[in-house]
Each structure stands twice: as C-alpha cells, then as structure tokens.
C-alpha cells in the first residue's frame, strides 16, 4: 500500500490551507471561509483561460508546470505514516532538497520573465531566503542521517520507529525545531511572509505569482499545497514515527499529525507578528545553528 500516502497527499493537501485559515479565523473571532475554499478556488481557476502578457516567453509558461512537476516528484520520495516513499534509494534526501530548489527556481524564473520590477523584487527575496533556508534543511537532514545511520529518507525515518518519548535524544529535538523554521520559511508562512498581504512592497511569494492566471495559477496554488504537505510529512515523520504495528493506524496518526501541524501554523500566525525583512536571515541562521549543533552532537 505504498501508493496510498501519495494519493492521500494529492487529495488532502489543499485542505491544509483550509485548516490554517479556519484556525486563524477562530482566533480572530470570525467565521472564516469554508474549509474547502482552496478546492473551490482550484476548480474555478481550472475552468478559466490563461492570459499571457506579450512580453513573456516560454519560461513564464513553463514555470508553473515545472514547479508542480517538481513537487509531485518530491512527494513520491517522502515516507509517510511508516510507509516508505514510492521511490526510495540511498541518498534520496539530496534529491528531495534539489527538487524543492528546482520548484523555487521555476517560480523565480517565471517571475523574472515578466519584467515587472515588483516581481523581480519578490524573486530576489525568495532566492535570498531560499538560499539561507537550504543550509538549515541540509544540516537537519545530515543530523538525521547521522542519528539513524542510514542515508535514505525512508529508511532513516523507519529507523526512528518504535522510539519512546521519555528518553528522546536532544539532537532530534533540535532538528525538529530547525525543520519547523524551514517549514515556515519554505511555505511563506507568517514570521517570514504573510500569505494574505497584498501590498507589493512587503510580499515575497505572492508577488512572484501576480501575473499568472487561470490554470497556471491553479498549478501554483496546488504546488504550494503539495510542498506544504511534503515538509509537514517530513516533520511529522520525525516527531511521530510509526508507533504501532498496524499500518492503517500509523497512517491515521500521520494524517492527524499533519493537520495538527497545520493547526500549529494557524496558531503561530495568529499570535506572532511578521518579522522585519532584515531579521529573517537571523531566524534562518539560528535554525542552521540548531541543526549544526544537532549534527555535532551526532558526530561526537
């Protein structure tokens, strides 16, 4: 039943955004949009036609497709609920990081292709923060590999299975915190980027996709949801490794964990203000420092 987790991800990923938005709405005392709003948005966008500016080239059209394809491939690598990923081999975590970077590159290239100065600004920020988030991600994964002694994503998360919560290794806690920071940065959530803002000067991810319309924009939204699911699955795999021997129960726990993380993100977004842009690199360096400490603890 290796095929089930990717299928679940494809079906449920847009719901993550609904859960985050509902959590924020409850905190703010609003009713909020329907939980399924992202699905409605996707359906509406797919029915529309796309508008292309005459200044754009094939790079602009390829961006959303390439981004979605990268996320789709990355999804097959991630183990979920004790099930290994559809693709798994030694060293696949480097491929995972590479695919995340490729998705970012596609969005950035498409944004630069429009020639809009605002989109260029957003692209520059996205590239900068992405470059700062990558060491934290790589160091976290390296610490994980060092801790479990196996180089594959699926096998190293499987090695964590059956771990008890009482004498958990400090390095795993450090990795979890570092990965949470990476999760927030990569998914453009609040301490770094505000997904609701529509002031071009402060936007990062949203400003890059302003010129996309119709199915292209649907691909981008869906790709972003898949990316969130991928990183959430990684985090949940570390915090909630396969606890029981029943695969269905493990799967249910993992799904609950992912939506629990969405709830946590909603809470973080409700109680925290956005960081100033100059402070974001500090957050990422601190995340990298935590991951590096975890790695040093493992190498010792």
């Amino acid at each position: 039943m290796n095929w089930l987790p990717p299928l679940l991800a494809l079906l449920l990923a847009p719901l993550l955004l609904g859960v985050i938005n509902r959590t924020k709405a409850i905190f703010a005392g609003r009713t909020g949009q329907p939980l399924l709003q992202s699905y409605f948005d996707l359906a509406r966008l797919l029915r529309k036609g796309a508008v292309y500016s005459s200044t754009t080239s094939w790079v602009f059209r390829a961006g959303p497709i390439l981004g979605l394809a990268a996320m789709f491939t990355a999804l097959q690598l991630v183990p979920f609920g004790g099930q290994a990923g559809l693709l798994h081999f030694s060293g696949d975590l480097v491929l995972l990081c590479g695919l995340l970077a490729l998705g970012r590159f596609a969005t950035v290239a498409a944004a630069l292709d429009t020639g809009s100065s605002f989109e260029g600004m957003g692209a520059s920020r996205e590239a900068f923060f992405g470059a700062m988030a990558e060491p934290a991600l790589y160091l976290s994964l390296a610490a994980l590999v060092r801790h479990t002694g196996s180089y594959g994503l699926s096998s190293s998360l499987a090695a964590l299975a059956g771990r008890n919560w009482v004498d958990v290794d400090p390095s795993l806690v450090l990795v979890t915190v570092a990965l949470l920071a990476v999760f927030l940065v990569e998914n453009c959530r609040i301490p770094v980027d505000d997904p609701n803002t529509h002031l071009e000067l402060t936007m990062i991810h949203e400003v890059m996709v302003l010129d996309h319309s119709g199915p292209d924009f649907a691909f981008i939204l869906y790709g972003a949801a898949l990316k969130m699911w991928i990183l959430a699955a990684l985090l949940v795999g570390i915090v909630l490794p396969a606890l029981s021997s029943n695969p269905w129960l493990n799967l249910a726990f993992a799904v609950l964990g992912v939506f629990g993380l969405a709830l946590l993100v909603g809470v973080i977004e409700s109680v925290m203000a956005r960081l100033r842009l100059v402070v974001v690199p500090q957050l990422l360096v601190v995340a990298s420092a935590l991951a590096a400490t975890a790695l040093l603890l493992g190498v010792r």
Partner: protein, 212 residues
C-alpha cells in the same frame, strides 16, 4: 541522560548569548545558565547527592542565578545602556564563529577524555565552549557590561569543568572561586557606574583614546 539535556541547554544558551544584542535578555540568559549549572553537581553524582554537592549547588544558584543578575540589571538601568549597537563582530558572524568554536570544543574534548571523575566528553565540550564564548564576547563587544558577562560565562565554563572533572574534592576551591567572582562583579558594577558618570558612555573602544 538528564545531564546530557542540561549540557545541550547550556550549549544553546551560549549560542543565544552570541546571537543576542539586548543586554537585559543576555543577563537573564546568564542567570538561567547559573541555575542550570547549579543542577550539574546534583545530577552528576550517582544516587542521592551528598551535603557538599547540595551546598555548592545552592550557593551557586543563589549567587549566579539571582544576585549577579540583580546587580547587573541595576547597572544596566543606571547606565541607561540597553543594547550593544555596533559590536566589532556582527551577531550572525558571531553565531557562525561560535559554531566553529563548538566544533573545536567537540574535537578538543575527544582528545582530552578520559578524565577522572564523572566528566563525560559532552560535559568537557560544554565547558570548553563556555570558555570560548566568554572569551569571544570579551574581545568582540564594546559595551563594558558585555565584558562583565563574558567574564561570568568564562567562569561558568570553569565551574562546569570543575564540577564534572574533579568531583567533591574541589568544593573548597569552587566556593573560593565563587567568592572571588562575587567580589569581582561587585567591583566591576561599581566601576561601570563610575565610568558612566565620568564619561557618559561605557564603550571600551573609546576608553582607549583617553589621555591625561
């Protein structure tokens, strides 16, 4: 196992001290470090801690966790300096240098073990890293309160090393050092106050151009 958590927390607090510019937050972090350090002699001994360990833990926690922060927070309030504006080495660079120092401490502690007593290699690492952090803060910051804090962190490293490596034999030595540090912090606090009153600042780099 619990000792390991404590030591990881100490290492993280050192990293936070390197990353932070706010003096109040730094003083509180050093205070937390003092309380954590007080727990080390209690956790390190197997079974129930003896009277010596309890005495040194209580004295250490009271002096480092409450007396020093109170003195230093007062100094911050009176000199009206609450953050380091332009350190010689920026905060991000400090964290990166600190990580290099941490790697060095891991390497060195591997060379140094086995030590007598209950010193694990992680304890030696945390002690060496505290020494490194203290020395680095002393040379890389301008406001004189940072030099006092660096001195305290340095002493925390020495205390940790002593508590782990030497066991109960070092009780008298530790208490002696604690007393010395207490006097030193008193004197430094008073000096800070006087420097501030005379020159309206406590920047160490500008003290260098004083000529009579």
């Amino acid at each position: 196992m619990k000792l390991e958590w404590l030591l990881v927390l100490l290492v993280l607090s050192d990293l936070r001290l390197l990353a932070s510019g706010r003096l109040g937050a730094k003083i509180r972090t050093v205070a937390a470090q003092g309380v954590l350090l007080g727990l080390v002699p209690l956790l390190g001994s197997s079974g129930y801690p003896d009277a010596h360990a309890i005495a040194i833990a209580v004295a250490g926690m009271l002096i480092k966790g409450f007396l020093f922060p109170w003195l230093l927070l007062r100094a911050v309030r009176e000199t009206r300096v609450n953050r380091e504006v332009q350190p010689y080495v920026g905060y991000l660079a400090s964290v990166l240098i600190g990580l290099a120092g941490l790697a060095g401490a891991f390497l060195l502690s591997r060379q140094l073990t086995p030590l007598p007593g209950k010193a694990t290699s992680l304890l030696v690492t945390a002690a060496l890293f505290s020494l490194f952090t203290g020395l680095f803060l002393i040379i890389s910051r301008k406001r004189a309160i940072n030099q006092v804090l660096g001195f305290l962190i340095l002493e925390n490293g020495v205390f940790l090393f002593g508590a782990g490596a030497m066991g109960e034999l070092s009780l008298l030595v530790e208490l002696g050092i604690l007393l010395d540090v207490l006097v030193a912090v008193f004197v430094m606090g008073i000096t800070l106050f006087h420097i501030n009153r005379e020159f309206d600042h406590i920047e160490t780099n500008r003290l260098a151009d004083l000529k009579d």
